[in-house]
Symmetry: C2
Subunit: 208 residues, 2 copies
DNA sequence: CCTCGGTTGTGAAATTTTTCACAAGTATTA
DNA sequence: TAATACTTGTGAAAAATTTCACAACCGAGG
């Protein structure tokens, strides 16, 4: 990771990583076949791997397991990360109840909410804490990433608390748009995905 | 919409549209102020509006309402779209129960599931149908967009059924990676967002 | 009416990203 | 061994995108 890879390249490598995860390690894939699986042109994949520093292996396709290990090593996907969730509403609790598997890369270790009742009532394997303890708990538990699933008006303060605790990255599902120069922030907004989709459809004759 | 705008520009305009929606129409914003709200450099915003064909209005900032109308007109965001949801699981039903508002731009008009019991048991204002009726219902009801919230192995067939019904765009929340040359498809995957976030953090000293 | 601080819109430059083309390697079959 | 049909990795060309710089404009306050 000495060189800073283009964002798009990182994004594509993540996508490739995903399909490789669900595949037998022995499968052999050409850049063309792989490209069809992820909807990326073959030459783009080869270039991405090239700039990412892919070592010369063979000129007869990639073995799924090797490629997986390469990307894993590149981004340190082998070290598990501690994740917390702020906001135990519908979405937030779904992360706690159905934690993402992904080969144990992410471990949900704490949940936070301003509503103390919710914390006490809810049954969960993941320990829940009141929101004002967020910074302390994040520091104590050495939490790496935060998922924000609070209402828009609480998003900013939540990010501040997470920063205060020394968090490294935030995935924000609240309608607020967050950003920070010190930490990585990614905003995800369902309605906007729909809107973007709509905007990308060239000749949409809208329904009544 | 005569010219095809760069994807990134479209994406940024959608983001701007979002903040404008939650703002008084009379507010006057300079490109600099607007830029701070959405984390985009001011000159990029001005360029985006320029290539999008923004007509000369004044040299003293943008009025929120006017800018909103401009983007709305550009992408036809004023005509409501009919949306259906395939897969009435945790995520799918959340779309049906808590429909996105967004100024009535999207109307959830139908849900589909292979499990007939689920359809009968579930109370909902939105009519629910068995999956095999999907293509017919989409055609009948003139549905524009589809949200896929089914398991990975059912994703492909679901897309095919939607295509068959003549759908224009798909937002895919299943773990499968979908793509099609005829219709617009957007894949959203939570774990991958986390992974991408991780990959973008330069010097992450991972926890134990 | 003139000036000052702030603003937009945009051509051109700079940069980034993608695409292309091809030498060189591999596996297979005869 | 030779021929065939693949394949990769990458420098260079092409294309796309972002950044810059600045003329022209606006509004307010003398």
């Amino acid at each position: 990771m000495s060189v800073q890879l283009p964002v798009q390249t990182v994004s594509r490598l993540c996508l490739i990583y995903r399909v490789l995860l669900g595949m037998d390690r022995e499968t052999v894939l050409s850049s063309t076949k792989l490209g069809k699986l992820v909807n990326i042109p073959a030459h783009t994949i080869r270039k991405d791997l090239s700039v990412a520093g892919k070592l010369k292996s063979s000129n007869a396709g990639y073995k799924a397991g090797e490629l997986l290990d390469f990307i894993k090593g590149l981004f340190n996907f082998d070290t598990p990360l501690r994740v917390c969730v702020a906001g135990i509403g519908l979405l937030g609790s779904s992360f706690i109840k159905n934690p993402v598997q992904e080969g144990g890369q992410f471990i949900i270790v704490a949940g936070f909410d301003t509503n103390i009742n919710k914390i006490e009532v809810m049954k969960s394997d993941v320990p829940l804490f009141p929101a004002y303890e967020m910074a302390d708990k994040i520091r104590e538990m050495r939490i790496d990433l935060g998922i924000i699933a609070v209402p828009a008006q609480a998003a900013e303060i939540t990010m501040q608390r997470m920063k205060e605790g020394g968090i490294k990255g935030i995935l924000n599902f609240s309608p607020a748009i967050l950003g920070d120069k010190d930490i990585a922030v990614r905003n995800v907004h369902f309605a906007e995905e729909l809107r973007f989709l709509t905007a990308m459809i060239p000749d949409l004759e809208k329904g009544v």
